[in-house]
């Protein structure tokens, strides 16, 4: 598979460098609740909580997809597993996040480990299709869970608690918890990407044979990355179930996986913070267009086509080329 964006090789020194764009993104996200206080607060908080929840999943997808060339078309499965962990435990009266969070992360990581073992044997298009297959399997499993609502899904009666403390009950507090989770996931992925592990992982995307020849077990590295991405997807699902107080098989439909890919591509693949921008752009655009007309997809569909045709590198790429035009003399910051 050809590469979309060439990530410049980062040395150990520049790894520590603080980049302006991600800082700006997190700053804006941190200020949203303050701005929201002046408008319809619950609406804005809810919308941006949703944005960040999906940004976490998109971030994880960008990690394996943008840096490792592993285009997963079943990433929504992990989100669904995380969400169902909350839903099913909640149905049995277990709401403490000290139990539900490890279960959400653990089960999605385990699912990633098992499916990754099979999926990673295949390449490019076949990888896309086999991840889709596993996504569909878990989707049908969720739909058959009759005691937990089957196809209709189930309502999460109470948001997760910490040692009996209703930590997630306050929308504003919950918002900052989600923001913290997003920041944590971002830092984790960033750390992995710039590490020695990340260099091998990225190298395997460029030329797996060469990396294998140097003496690295490419499969093992890819599987570790896949498990990390799966667990982060599970975290996203854990938060999603708490945000919507509802879980349903629709969370893991293939359309959802497609949306996650769109978010990654929307923002700019292989940048990590691009996934956050992409998730925000996608969901805000959807929300805005849906407010304008019920036929918003008539506008949104062609927009996707136009973005692919004319905005290579996504919104960040667009910003970058704009910056280059405005300040032609300067080199990369």
């Amino acid at each position: 598979m050809t590469t979309l964006v060439h990530t410049p090789a980062r040395t150990g020194l520049s790894a520590i460098r603080v980049e302006a764009v991600p800082v700006l993104i997190f700053l804006v996200l941190a200020l949203v609740p303050i701005a929201a206080a002046f408008g319809p607060e619950t609406y804005w908080l809810g919308l941006f909580t949703r944005v960040m929840v999906f940004a976490i999943a998109a971030l994880a997808l960008d990690f394996i997809c943008g840096y490792g060339g592993l285009v997963s078309f079943g990433h929504a499965a992990f989100v669904g597993i995380g969400a169902y962990a909350v839903g099913i435990l909640g149905a049995h009266g277990v709401t403490d996040l000290l139990i539900s969070l490890p279960v959400a992360l653990g089960v999605s990581a385990l699912f990633a480990f098992l499916t990754g073992t099979v999926c990673l044997r295949t390449k490019s298009v076949y990888f896309i299709m086999i991840t889709l297959a596993f996504g569909q399997m878990i989707y049908f499993v969720a739909g058959s869970l009759a005691p937990y609502g089957g196809d209709d899904g189930l309502t999460v009666r109470a948001r997760s608690t910490l040692l009996g403390l209703p930590l997630f009950a306050n929308d504003r507090v919950f918002y900052y918890i989600v923001l913290g989770s997003l920041l944590g996931s971002y830092m984790l992925c960033r750390a992995f990407v710039v590490s020695r592990f990340g260099r091998v992982f990225r190298g395997a995307r460029e030329n797996a044979t060469r990396i294998a020849t140097i003496g690295y077990d490419v499969f093992r590295y890819q599987r570790i990355a896949y498990v990390i991405a799966g667990a982060i997807g599970g975290l996203s699902g854990f938060l999603l179930a708490n945000a919507t107080e509802f879980v349903s098989p629709a969370y893991m439909s293939w359309q959802r996986s497609g949306e996650l890919i769109i978010m990654v591509l929307f923002g700019g693949i292989g940048t990590l913070h691009g996934a956050i921008v992409g998730a925000a752009a996608y969901l805000l655009l959807e929300d805005t267009l849906a407010g304008v007309t019920e036929h918003w997809k008539l506008i949104f569909g062609p927009m996707l086509v136009l973005i692919v045709l004319f905005a290579r590198g996504g919104l960040l790429g667009l910003g970058e080329s704009l910056r280059r035009k405005l300040f032609p003399g300067r080199s990369d910051p």
Binding site: F140, L265, H295
Partner: protein
């Protein structure tokens, strides 16, 4: 399970199989020859059904509606190829997925705007509307047999076209290595257009044929699209023979699984959990099959690609 039920379900499985073959044939050619993931292939199937309903309402004749629908679908498909797809061939798979996903969104909503969200119906042509006695006590709708027959006929025509004509030879060569074919002086763009147009017509044909059995509604192409992808991946991308065998396999496995999963499970577990687990296993069956095939043969059953 009785023998008569088994026979009926096998026929139903074959019918689903040939339907999937009609869709997968175009998909696997486009994918194999042009290395282009066309998610919008499913909406072309949907469009075929809608166009047939529209032309039937205008003319009142199924055959004329079929011909007009195919022609209109071809024109529309070539229009899409010309305006959008053509610029995506040398792009990354990921970008192709996104752009064609955008087209799905647009067309699914588009048919809703034009024809409404309510499901539409296309009547079965008068002469094929009855049932036929297969064996003592087994009645089977004639139209389903017509679908099976026409699907097999198309398969035969495709086989002759692909393996015994000059264009077919180029298509096979293109599926193996398009770049070399182009270097040998073949107008690859023209070949792409022929392949694409043909694939579009096959998908539309599938849509028209199935329209009298299923309801014609927005989004009807989405589930079929995923099944068609499963078919071409199992069969080996670019392989017509692979698509044919895999389509029949998937059709049979899916249909028989759905019909008999509960009964089979009841042999090994109590009825109540069997009723819960059965449908889930039946739905998963083809994906399990696909995962198994890819695990043992990472490039499908009949890999066509030489690179």
């Amino acid at each position: 399970m009785s023998t008569s039920l088994l026979i009926v379900q096998i026929l139903n499985g074959l019918q689903l199989g040939v339907l999937l073959f009609l869709i997968a044939a175009g998909l696997t050619l486009v994918f194999g020859v042009m290395d282009f993931i066309n998610l919008a292939h499913g909406v072309q199937y949907m469009l075929g059904a809608y166009l047939a309903v529209m032309f039937y309402a205008l003319t009142g004749n199924f055959l004329i509606a079929l011909v007009l629908a195919l022609a209109a679908a071809l024109v529309f498909g070539l229009l899409l190829e010309f305006t959008v797809f053509r610029h995506l061939y040398d792009r990354d798979h990921l970008e192709q997925v996104i752009a064609t996903f955008g087209i799905i969104l647009f067309l699914n909503q588009g048919v809703k705007v034009v024809w409404g969200a309510a499901p539409l119906n296309l009547p079965i042509p008068e002469i094929f509307s009855g049932t036929v006695v297969l064996m003592q006590g087994i009645l089977y709708p004639v139209w389903r047999l017509v679908i099976i027959g026409s699907g097999l006929a198309v398969g035969l025509i495709l086989y002759i076209l692909v393996s015994h004509t000059r264009v077919g030879m180029l298509v096979r060569a293109g599926a193996t290595n398009a770049r070399i074919v182009s270097a040998l002086g073949v107008d690859i763009r023209r070949l792409f257009m022929i392949v694409f147009g043909f694939g579009t017509m096959l998908a539309a044909f599938a849509g028209v044929m199935i329209a009298p059995i299923l309801s014609v509604e927005p989004g009807m192409g989405d589930s079929v699209l995923i099944l068609a992808f499963v078919v071409i991946v199992i069969g080996g991308i670019g392989s017509m023979r692979g698509a044919f065998i895999a389509a029949l396999l998937i059709g049979l496995v899916d249909t028989l699984g759905r019909s008999f999963a509960i009964d089979i499970l009841r042999l090994v577990m109590p009825p109540s959990p069997a009723r819960t687990v059965g449908p889930a296993i039946a739905s998963m069956l083809i994906y399990v099959l696909m995962a198994l095939v890819l695990y043992f043969r990472p490039a499908g059953l009949f890999p066509a690609r030489g690179r």
